[in-house]
């Protein structure tokens, strides 16, 4: 799951939990999944080590990313 998908899922879960007509059982299940996704998102955010690379295609068509 990409960070983008993780956050979208989190938003979905938060919106679903906001509804009163959701069966309690399901609400608990969603909450549990939400906690997992939150952990994933936080871990991704903690990794603030972006790099700038240059994509180079060698003459043999092989890609290389140079920092």
């Amino acid at each position: 799951m990409t960070f983008e998908q993780t956050l979208s899922r989190l938003e979905q879960i938060a919106a679903s939990l906001d509804r009163d007509d959701l069966p309690l059982e399901e609400a608990l299940k969603l909450f549990e999944e939400g906690i997992t996704r939150l952990r994933e998102a936080s871990a991704a955010l903690a990794d603030a080590d972006g790099k700038v690379r240059t994509l180079i295609e060698q003459s043999d068509g092989v890609f290389e990313a140079k920092e």
């Binding site: 939990l17 009163d20 309690l24 939400g34 994509l55």
Partner: protein
């Protein structure tokens, strides 16, 4: 009235004539703007530009002296409609009129515009400019691809802005020439590399990096000529076909290129493109925190609702239960009242019967039997010897009495005995 060259004797030199004509013409026409189409355009090795300005009925030889060419940003080309500013004069060497141009603007329907409009119309016909085609940008990309010149300030701006907003985002530069003859092909090559990468077709040496989720393609500002590669139809089509959403960033606000029209988002400058591409890290953190809060609140509310619901049901249940109990109690009381006298009698009877049984048990107690003088015979194995056959002559047995035991031996066995006599 006499004038120069009026008589044969006063004939002028050719040079004097053309010089005079030059003076007259220049005096009669101040510097002015002329509208026309460029024709027979040629740059001379001397650095001067020659062409003819014409319309349907007439033409005038024109020149841009070397010293003026640097100020002219339009790329001259045959067929280009222009407004030229200059001085009408006579070129003595040829004896012809000449328009000496110092400034040129492309006219509204210039060749550039014509080409631009034609390309745009073709793309439009293929539906590539349909606003419905525009894709939403990813909100939280982890990798951003940038296609631009690796030397340009534009790239430094993009990298600086992304680094400032979100140092966790990876930037991958796919270098390309962004101006000059080779630019369209170079841009197409870069777009192709990106497509193969995102499509998973690329073979990697070293570590493969996660594919980009958004593309910034562009360059800093420049003349119309400098930006022309971004009006290239092939480049525009490749941008439209890009597997990830695209942000175009060409020039500085005023010039819209074809690339801008097909991109999913048009940014005025590369810096603005970078701002659109990447959210500020602190804001993403804030959003995650908010979502966590929303989830917790949502669940708590949901539990609250469930609890209230449960309480309501429990109340209803207990009211019903009380009612049922109440009704039963009434019935039980009624039955009890009717049964009470019989019930009492029955208990009395039982008690009397119990007492009788107790007395009978008492009477049958073995101790009471011994007290009355009876004895019990017991064999060596402890079994009670209750019949004649159990006594074998010569065999010892025990007689249990009220106050002890007698060891005895069977002497003889008889069938007659006093307690069996019925006549007594």
């Amino acid at each position: 009235m006499s004038h120069a060259g009026a008589t044969s004797a006063e004939a002028l030199s050719v040079h004097a004539l053309t010089s005079a004509a030059k003076d007259v013409l220049e005096g009669a026409f101040p510097r002015l703007w002329v509208r026309g189409e460029v024709s027979g355009y040629k740059k001379y090795p001397s650095g001067h530009w020659y062409f003819t300005l014409k319309d349907a009925e007439a033409q005038i030889p024109s020149v841009v002296w070397k010293g003026s060419t640097a100020r002219i940003r339009e790329k001259l080309e045959d067929g280009l409609q222009v407004r030229a500013y200059g001085q009408l004069t006579v070129w003595p060497a040829s004896g012809k009129m000449q328009f000496v141009v110092t400034a040129i603007e492309a006219d509204g329907e210039g060749l550039w515009q014509k080409r631009f409009d034609e390309t745009k119309a073709r793309l439009e016909k293929d539906g590539l400019l349909d606003p419905a085609r525009k894709r939403a940008l990813p909100r939280f990309p982890r990798t951003v691809a940038v296609i631009t010149s690796s030397e340009a300030a534009a790239l430094r701006d993009v990298i600086a802005v992304i680094g400032r907003r979100n140092p966790g985002v990876h930037v991958v530069v796919i270098p390309a020439a962004v101006q000059g003859e080779a630019a369209p092909e170079s841009l197409l090559g870069a777009l192709d590399r990106l497509a193969r990468w995102v499509g998973g077709d690329a073979e990697w040496r070293g570590v493969a990096i996660p594919a980009p989720e958004v593309l910034i393609i562009g360059r800093g500002g420049g003349s119309r000529e400098d930006l022309w590669a971004f009006n290239h139809e092939g480049v525009a089509r490749a941008i439209a076909a890009c597997p990830v959403p695209t942000i175009s960033a060409v020039g500085h606000e005023t010039d819209v290129t074809i690339a801008d029209l097909v991109a999913d988002l048009r940014a005025a400058t590369p810096s603005v493109a970078a701002e659109h591409a990447v959210p500020v890290l602190a804001e993403v953190r804030e959003l995650v925190t908010q979502l966590a809060g929303m989830m917790a609140d949502g669940l708590q509310d949901r539990i609250q609702v469930a609890r209230r619901d449960l309480d309501r049901r429990a109340d209803a249940l207990s009211r019903r239960a009380q009612l049922v109990v109440e009704r039963r109690r009434v019935r039980v009381d009624r039955v009890a009242a009717r049964l009470a006298p019989q019930g009492l009698r029955s208990v009395e009877r039982r008690r009397a019967r119990m007492e009788t049984l107790g007395a009978m048990l008492e009477a049958r107690s073995p101790l009471a039997v011994f007290a009355r003088g009876f004895a019990v015979a017991r064999g060596a194995d402890g079994a009670t010897l209750a019949q004649r056959a159990a006594f074998i002559p010569g065999t010892p047995f025990d007689l249990l009495l009220r106050d002890g035991r007698v060891r005895a031996t069977t002497d003889s066995v008889h069938t007659d005995a006093p307690h069996l006599r019925t006549d007594a």
